[in-house]
Symmetry: C2
Subunit: 264 residues, 2 copies
């Protein structure tokens, strides 16, 4: 194989498997090439991705060392994505009865999900997490893509315990959106004690369900090392949790005038 | 930029945006290079991905033409993935009370989700679909990744209508797993009449919920052009639907002996 082909293959394999370390030997065997040759290939791949702002390649030395792709988001791409989301979200026809916003089309749109997940992954990559955790339903695609980019398993907390989940641990929490006590449950075999988790959700008002996720994880002795939400409501000012990373803020929603305040 | 760098960048950009057509001009502008140069770059990228079985690049001529990445799965990778899944699924500790199988760890595992979604995407890419549709919850990651690889929006049918979904259409269906009538609902603005959909789900017993998905889509005048399920139960032999594509078959589950029959 020629250098051009090897570099192309390295870019494809690494970027398809983000945050997963491949040994130099893996590529030497794949290409039937010497270590020095592959090292130089990787160095070229690294420079080109960095120059084009298409992601980062990190190399680590030593016996356990190797090379991996790390998701990055340039300031320009982040700005473009969040500006686009703000524009889409400020469309007055999204206002449903009761002042709720319709966002499913955005939260289930692969381009938006990928971009948002890249931002969360870049933000939380150094937290040493073992899981990405969300509560069903609308945040699942974004939480899943974040998990994919961090090379971690996704854990989905359910609203009802299902027969196929086996024994579960359940807690009650107060949901501001529905103004009532709700239940969430997690299968006993879903997580291991002593591990760390990043919590991701699509929307947060007072923070009741995120606080519920923190509490249910505490029941399992799993530490929360980061919390990201796509949209956080400005009101109520007093939240049930204090440490979270919102991408967008939702201000006033005027149901009659069909005006939505959304900003970064 | 050198050829090696251009080819690497083309591989990254195309494979990050599967089934999305980029014009030749897009890359000419990006690299400040002539059309003949970029054409040759693309031809090299295409050959290397094909040779390494890392995906396919398709080029189309004409004013609307361009170049796109198409997900493919080699027989070898498909075999490896499905064999691995069979092995994991036949672990007797997965049997929950009532004979249900615990599969969340697999359905939420990014490596497995990616592989399964690639198989579905390759299978259904030529159906001319406009949406990938699933019902919450466990099939969402696989349906989402399939949607991503086909460059289509994901549509999630809910079990309960939520306030943030606005007006919805609901139907009742008989769920064999829970042995009762259940409800599913879809927001009126989620899909457009006259469009086509691929239905994806994680598990199918008699096919009640898949049939429900077909029926609710019919209410919206959306045609189902393909149905994929990860695991289909052998029993009952008589299914409520006839045209579906299962990856694995679940035979007898012996709760006492802890033996699971799973095969391809």
């Amino acid at each position: 194989m020629k250098r051009t082909e090897r570099v192309g293959a390295i870019v494809r394999i690494l970027s398809q498997n983000p945050n997963q370390t491949f040994s130099l030997k893996y590529f030497c065997d794949l290409f039937h090439a010497a270590k020095s040759t592959v090292s130089e290939d990787i160095s070229i791949a690294k420079k080109l991705l960095s120059k084009m702002e298409l992601g980062a390649i990190e190399t680590t030395a030593g016996a356990k060392g190797g090379v991996k792709f790390v998701p990055t988001v340039s300031k320009k791409r982040e700005d473009e994505l969040l500006d686009y989301l703000c524009e889409k979200l400020s469309d007055g026809s999204r206002i449903m009865r009761g002042g709720f916003l319709y966002t499913s089309d955005l939260m289930f749109n692969p381009k938006i999900v990928n971009g948002v997940a890249e931002i969360f992954a870049a933000k939380f990559i150094d937290r040493g997490a073992d899981y990405v955790v969300t509560i069903e339903t609308k945040g699942i695609p974004i939480a899943f893509m974040t998990a994919h980019m961090l090379n971690l398993p996704l854990v989905v907390v359910r609203r009802e315990s299902k027969v196929s989940e086996g024994s579960t641990v359940s807690i009650n929490y107060f949901s501001g959106s529905s103004e009532r006590i709700q239940k969430m449950s997690l299968a006993k075999r879903a997580v291991e004690a002593g591990k760390k988790a990043i919590v991701i959700d699509d929307f947060m008002r007072a923070g009741g369900s995120i606080k519920g996720l923190w509490e249910i994880l505490e029941e399992f002795d799993v530490e929360v090392v980061g919390t990201g939400v796509v949209i956080a409501s400005v009101e109520p000012k007093k939240k049930k949790i204090n440490d979270y990373y919102p991408l967008l803020l939702l201000g006033n929603v005027d149901e009659d005038a069909k005006i939505i305040q959304i900003f970064r």
